[in-house]
Amino acid sequence: MIVVASAAGPTLDDAVDERFGRAKYFVAVDPDTGEIVKSIDNSANREAQGGAGTGSAEIVSELGAVAVLTGHLGPKAFAALEIAGIPGYAAVGRSVSEAVKAYVAKELETLTAGPAGIKP
């Protein structure tokens, strides 16, 4: 099983990035072991003119994630994750490892679609 956090950096100690579509990194973690499976630099979507939310959803979908831990989902990102069958959880203010632990403990709230385009 894999959960993916949007993150300010590639490690477990980096903070969860509030942005999803234009997050700096995606850190894929196995919640059973708490170990990183893969860290992905999201610069392609960060720098994209449009479609960052759906592009990030595609990355998460390709990683085979069962959940996304982030701060905010725009309407198109939310729709894309919904199609991929991946729920989003609010995890800002935590490190990646703390967010994953909170996810396992079922402490995180489910995200709904928010307004588009939080600027970097």
């Binding site: 003119q49 479609g51 592009g55 979908s61 991929a84």
Partner: protein, 308 residues
């Protein structure tokens, strides 16, 4: 689009300078002078000409094409996703998904698909309202109004503008007026491209001057001769001087509409100023004459006394 049946675009960089005022009053002036006239409202995000020129209009859908997956044929190979310049195609949970609001309708995905898994389907993006303006005096020629209206939340303004202009051309009037949207990006380009002359409506403020320069650079790039209409003009007390700039840039000033409460009041009530304020009737007759001269390639004697 020649000197015989010219097309005059009314444009500005800045919004709120008076494009609609100039377009509607010029259109009525032309029709009353006996020229069959079609006014195309290309300000498709906020078309207002109909408020001044009520027409008995029929409504027609404007459609654009967007990409759509043919489920039985798609192998989810990702060629379309890789080709899309706009990030409109994604593979989610192994299935190709098109996000219509991101699709520009370029059709590249259908070209790169090797399995027939991608096609294009029509979607409505707006509508046209087409009709003859009502209540015209008996001696007038016909005045047609084509209004383009973009659906709320849609982005394909150029598609609606293009459709409106084609309908305008189809009416084969002796004069076509294009009321352009503000700005200098895609929608403004779609509205003014190919016109015989552009009237750049401005006001003598720092904003007006700045955006007039942008509009001038746009029409210059497109190779369209331009003339300036100063709106809300006042006696000069220094500060911004559009006339001076126009002389230096070699652009004729074709009219100066004064800053006059009666004009503002009539406009606010949805009336034509050529009817409400006696001095304006002759001003628009002259403006029409000068704009047509400019469209036919002649030099124009301007208010500033400079010939183009």
């Amino acid at each position: 689009m020649s000197g015989i049946s010219p097309t005059i675009a009314i444009a500005s960089g800045k919004g709120g300078t008076g494009k609609t005022l100039v377009a509607t009053n010029l259109a009525m002036t032309a029709a009353r002078s006996g020229l069959s006239t079609t006014l195309v409202d290309c300000d498709v995000e906020a078309p207002n000409d109909h408020l001044f020129l009520p027409a008995d209009a029929t409504i027609h859908d404007v459609e654009a094409t967007i990409a759509a997956v043919v489920k039985d044929q798609c192998t989810a190979c990702g060629a379309c996703r890789d080709a899309c310049m706009y990030g409109a195609i994604r593979i989610l949970a192994g299935t190709v998904v098109v996000f219509p609001e991101l699709c520009h309708g370029c059709g590249l995905c259908t070209q790169v698909c090797m399995t027939g898994g991608m096609t294009e389907v029509p979607v409505r993006v707006g509508e046209l309202l087409i009709g003859a303006v009502q209540g015209m005096p008996a001696e007038s020629a016909q005045l047609n109004l084509v209004t383009g209206r973009l659906d709320v939340g849609e982005v394909k303004a150029p598609t609606v503008i293009g459709a409106a202009r084609r309908r305008g051309e189809a009416s084969q009037a002796q004069l076509t007026l294009l009321d352009a949207p503000p700005g200098v990006a895609c929608a403004a380009v779609a509205a003014v491209r190919g016109a015989d002359v552009a009237l750049l409506v401005t006001e003598e403020t720092a904003f007006g001057m700045h955006d007039l320069d942008l509009a001038w650079r746009l029409v210059n790039t497109l190779g369209i001769p331009a003339g300036i209409v100063i709106n809300r003009a006042e006696e000069h007390t220094g500060g911004i001087n559009v006339t001076q700039w126009a002389i230096e840039s070699g652009i004729p000033v074709l009219a100066s509409i004064p800053f006059d409460r009666r004009i503002a009041s009539a406009y606010a009530d949805g009336e034509l100023v050529i009817d409400a304020v006696p001095s304006e009737k002759e001003r628009f007759v002259q403006l029409l004459e000068r704009a047509r001269e400019l469209a036919s390639g002649s030099s124009v004697t301007t208010q500033a006394g400079a010939a183009s």
